[in-house]
Amino acid sequence: MDVLPSAVLPSAVSPSAVSPSAIGPSAVAPAAVAAAAQAACAAPPPRLAGPALENLHPALWRANQVGGARDPCFATGFGMLDATLPGGGWPGRALTELLLPHPGVGELRLLAPALAALMREGQALIWFDPPASLCSWALAALGLDAQQFVIVRGRDGLRGRARELLPAADTLWALEQALKSGHVGAVLAWLPQRLRADALRRLQLAAQAHPGPAFLFREAEARVRPSAAPLRLLLQPAGADRLLLRVLKRRGPPLLQPLCLALPPVLSNAARTRARQAAGQAPAVHAPGPVLG
């Protein structure tokens, strides 16, 4: 068994992270996090007599604090993002919704560090209805062994009217089974459009038996519709090898400023500079986060 980097271990996420002052020192990129923390807590919490409310139960947090997590979280590999997410990583036993305008904005490069850590532990990944074929070469470059994936396709089975009436009932069933079984390392699912809220609610209940992270990829228009997922992120491309990430919902105060993450690069440095110049933007608008190869 491989020795994991310490950031991946759930024990690295201490319960003291519930207090806002603990966010700054634990973060990797202090400048960016300070801004996030300022946005997070505008006013200091009022002093109360007796034990602090948030210490009564691990599931309690103040409205101006980022919530803690009882369940293990999985470090994202991006320090800025870890500091923003409650618990310091992708949550286990809960759904994580990623809203994308279209597949191919850098979503897999965002998830790859966490997924690779899970695969190194020997955990399985199940992919439900991926939107296109997977290239094993590209995944190997991200540290993922595509031959270990299980890919489940449910949509081809339905024909005719049933396909319109039942939006991939098979996929939802299979997804629920995978979440309930609790033997899967991580679940990645591309859900059909116009999914009903009760289906999501049901998946969220099933996810409580699933110790690993569960990622749902949905269309960006779903941001105005309610969802039971405790963590919702909106991803948008922001130039070459950059990803703009808005936290739509989390256990904590809303994050007003979007995060700009530097993804593992596809382009060479020269090509990236060329792309930025062509796009008419300065080479470094946002401080780049730690870049993972």
Binding site: P101, G104, R109, A132, S136, A140, Q147, V184, P237
Partner: protein, 515 residues
């Protein structure tokens, strides 16, 4: 010699009730033989229906009574299943028709830790077959059979009790007070003995043997001697057939797969009893549904439907097999009502089952994952659960092939070394479109969604496939779309040698997206 007699007092009723839906089973049910009631369940007995009364009488008492026809063949199949399950404990198992199974367990006592432990395990093993049991042990085979039948009769409530005649003398003392009708072949004989004032076997033994043989035949005397141990009683043991093949006639025409499932559970329980008797686990089995042949609406309906269920990992778990069958049946629509079911199994994995784990470990997790995948395959179809295989080919659309996931997932440790070194690789997009998307062109620049693509990196030339007729001669570029996402496009290289190219295959194409 220590014989265990397993008597199944309600065999024919239970064999029939197993075919019924649970709500039917809780209502009054009775079995008919020659227009007379031969057995009735508890609900029917409560309404006053007794074995022996006429059909019309029973209907007058309970108009909603559910009748079944007594079927000796069905009972024999059920009895055989019990006998096969008992083979897990001793090789010497013989049948005593109509409803008793005899086991010689003297040699097995030590292995299973004494009679009490053996009995408990025997009951646990027979529980899935769903029969009430009366068990007795005795030094002679027929003595054990008689005791099992009689002791249970004496106290119906304690039908699970086991009485033990330890020594031959104790057995003879127990048999002396047993009623004579148990030895009789038919009711007339019993009537005759009753008329002669014979009540117990002791009274029967006091009579002159020659006179008894003249009146009732030599068979009665021979049985009496065998039961008392004064005559040898050789028994033929049953053996397991190499291939499991069991049939079951359904009670009603099964129009839905739910009704089929009811009968299939019975067959699955028998299959597992057969597999466990040889310490094996089931690797694959076939359920055949025999349809009603002459259906007016569908003359072309097939005679039977076969469902082949192959497991990735052999299993001896009834619940898991039932679940797989349920998911598989949920996808099947019956062409015609099913009349009869047939379960066949010839693929077994012999050997001790894997050790169970108390705490979750890597192995138990892997087993859970295998079961999950089996379940998904049963419901969605084998071709819908896939894995990616890397193929050494330069053409990107051929370098990764999706294959149905056939066997169990390989353990992660085994395959880890195969991960290629990521450093020296050219950049490839994660998402590959199934069909390259043709892009329009303006001022020598490809357009995507109406806006020009900005080429950032390239060209990377891929030229391969001349040997299989799918020549790909392309220059690949990494380009940036208007919204900032990176895409992978190529331009088909113009070939000088073949000027007349297909116009649909010229120009710019989008093949992948960097996810």
């Amino acid at each position: 010699m220590l014989w265990l007699g397993l008597h199944l007092p309600l065999l024919s009723l239970e064999a029939f009730e197993a075919l019924l839906a649970p709500e039917q089973r809780s209502g009054p049910v009775a079995l008919l033989q020659d227009h007379r009631i031969s057995a009735a369940n508890a609900a029917a007995a409560q309404c006053g229906i007794k074995p022996g009364c006429k059909r019309a009488t029973a209907l007058a008492l309970v108009p909603q009574l559910l009748f079944g026809q007594a079927d000796a063949g069905r009972d024999a199949q059920a009895l055989l299943a019990v006998a096969r399950a008992a083979l897990a404990f001793t090789p010497t198992v013989s049948l005593q028709p109509p409803s008793t199974v005899l086991l010689e367990v003297q040699a097995s006592l030590r292995c299973f830790g004494g009679p009490a432990a053996l009995l408990q395990r025997l009951r646990e093993r027979l529980a899935p077959l769903g029969h009430a049991l009366q068990i007795a042990s005795a030094p002679t085979a027929l003595g054990a059979a008689l005791l099992a039948r009689w002791q249970g009769n004496a106290s119906v409530a304690g039908s699970g009790s086991a009485s033990h005649g330890g020594s031959l003398a104790a057995l003879q003392a127990a048999l002396d007070v047993a009623p004579v009708w148990m030895l009789c072949a038919d009711p007339e004989q019993a009537q005759a003995m009753h008329g002669m004032g014979l009540r117990t076997l002791a009274q029967l033994r006091q009579l002159p043997r020659s006179g008894l043989a003249r009146r009732f035949g030599a068979g009665l005397l021979a049985d009496l001697d065998r039961a008392y141990g004064s005559r040898p009683d050789p028994r033929a043991s049953i053996t397991l057939p190499p291939v499991f093949d069991s049939r079951l006639e359904l009670f009603a025409h099964a129009e839905t797969t739910e009704q089929v499932l009811q009968g299939a559970h019975v067959l699955l329980a028998r299959l597992l009893a057969w597999a466990q008797a040889q310490h094996a686990r089931v690797a694959a089995f076939t359920l055949v549904m025999l349809h009603e042949t002459r259906l007016r609406g569908a003359p072309q309906a097939p005679a039977c439907t076969e469902l082949e269920i192959a497991l990735a990992e052999p299993s001896g778990d009834a619940a898991h097999l039932q679940l797989l069958l349920r998911e598989r049946l949920a996808n099947v629509s019956l062409a015609a009502p099913a009349l009869e079911l047939r379960l066949r199994c010839r693929h077994l994995r012999h050997g001790a089952p894997p050790t169970g784990e108390l705490f979750p470990t890597r192995a138990s997790e892997h087993e859970g994952l295998t079961r999950l995948i089996e379940r998904l395959r049963a419901r969605l179809g084998d071709s819908q659960v896939q894995r990616v295989m890397a193929v050494p080919d330069h053409r990107p659309e051929r370098a990764s092939v999706l294959q149905p996931l056939q066997a169990a997932l390989p353990r992660a440790e085994a395959a880890r070394q195969q991960l290629p070194d990521a450093q020296g690789l050219a950049k490839r997009p994660v998402w590959l479109l199934p069909q390259p998307l043709a892009l329009p062109e303006r001022h020598w620049q490809p357009l995507f969604e109406g806006r020009p693509l900005q080429l950032l990196s390239g060209p990377e030339r891929i030229e391969a496939g001349w040997w299989d007729g799918e020549l790909a001669a392309r220059d690949y570029f990494i380009a940036q779309a208007a919204d900032g996402a990176l895409v992978w496009v190529y331009r088909v290289r113009l070939s000088l040698s073949a000027p007349a190219q297909d116009p649909a295959n010229v120009g710019w194409f989008l093949q992948g997206r960097f996810g």
